[in-house]
Symmetry: C2
Subunit: 246 residues, 2 copies
């Protein structure tokens, strides 16, 4: 162990440096489920920090499902099953990777949209605003999985309609090209049947059941909407996994 030295001049808080270091150990499986994690007093000594700082690092890992703690016994790496169940705002690409599948994307259409009252009201912005539409077929191991129609506010990502989004993660592009950090999303899920066009694109029978997901994604300030997506998941190929608490 001990490959980390905390940097006291970093803008990143100490608790965060320690938390991320431990998280990497867990995700890379250097630390496996049920393994013991250094105690709060260990971390205190090891890094010359106060116990409250060590506690914060462990506390956040617990809240995110990476570790569980037992009074009198210690802190341990949690089952990865529980971690996966946490509802994180992730891209299709990340999600498929977690499921051990290869994610792909085929762009069907990109265009600008403006003066769309209905769309603007979804975002809660002025009707004059310009949006960029990106319609893509998402593939898992080369097979059609999701028909995804995303609308992005052009003012935050000008020129996006020129970017080649075939087999590229949209969220990665937003982050790398526009410095956009996503914060949270509101999502509704319902069951319906695919119409003829949808079924054809998904290579399924018309009338096939689909999960219709609508998502409104906000920037990391939690207030500014940036993306509205409608996704149609093939009911026979996709299952949503959710962990509920309390």
């Amino acid at each position: 162990m001990r490959l980390l030295r905390v940097d006291r001049h970093s803008p990143l808080p100490i608790y965060y440096q320690i938390k991320e270091w431990l998280r990497e150990q867990i995700e890379s499986e250097v630390l496996k489920p049920q393994d013991r994690i250094p105690s709060e007093r260990d971390l205190e000594q090891e890094f010359g920090i106060s116990r409250m700082t060590a506690r914060r690092a462990l506390g956040e890992l617990e809240a995110e499902g990476y570790v569980y703690r037992e009074q009198g016994r210690g802190s341990f790496v949690a089952e990865s099953k529980i971690r996966q169940g946490l509802l994180r705002l992730t891209s299709f690409t990340e999600e498929m990777q977690k499921r051990g599948m290869r994610a792909g994307a085929r762009v069907l259409r990109t265009q600008k949209v403006d003066h769309d009252k209905h769309l603007a009201s979804r975002f809660g912005v002025y009707a004059e605003e310009v949006f960029i539409l990106v319609e893509r077929l998402r593939l898992a191991n080369g097979k059609p999985m999701v028909l995804e129609t995303a609308f992005l506010r052009e003012m935050f990502c000008p020129g996006l309609e020129e970017v080649d989004l075939n087999n590229r993660s949209l969220y990665e592009t937003l982050r790398e090209r526009y410095g956009i950090q996503l914060g949270r999303a509101e999502q509704t899920v319902e069951a319906r049947v695919a119409d003829d066009y949808e079924a054809k694109v998904l290579e399924a029978r018309p009338g096939t059941p689909v999960l219709a997901v609508e998502r409104l994604t906000y920037l990391s300030d939690g207030k500014t909407p940036i993306e509205y997506v409608r996704s149609l998941y093939r009911g026979d190929r996709y299952r949503l996994f959710i962990e509920l608490r309390r």
Copy 2:
């Protein structure tokens, strides 16, 4: 304000007393969205506690979506929309109440089940264990909404098959009659079409799309499975709402 006096001899932590006091003010709308919440230093003085303790109370309220905090400005009550979006483990009854609808239940079948290998493996328990099956049609404003088949471990709720669960909340019964506190649940959601029996009970056409939800519910220790439920939601009447973070 100031209707609370912290009890230093209570087994309940001080931060928890303050947190619950504030939560009640928010839920009862004494404090409304955007209202300012006492600052950390206010609480410190007001209750004669240290600032770290006040911070913990506010921090948990933030994590649960009740308040948002802005550096340099203060802490404020969050929009109730955001709070509702948090994924909480709730009963159908509670959920319908939140949506402003009247929840009902019609028992279709209750019976004991034992030596069911498939079922026992879902729970991860011995195949010999006895379960109680409760099949109910759940109604919203008197109309069929969900076909719900629950399996409970008899050892935790003996005699449940004798209880009249018509128009009664199962979770309320578990709590009041057996002292059972639920902790978390793992849930999968998929889209499929109803078969003839399901459609008939739900008073829908055969082939109607449904949200098929499977839930494994654990006690408050987070480890002991207690209930396994399969629910079929009418696709045309039900939408799942989810809030994603990070």
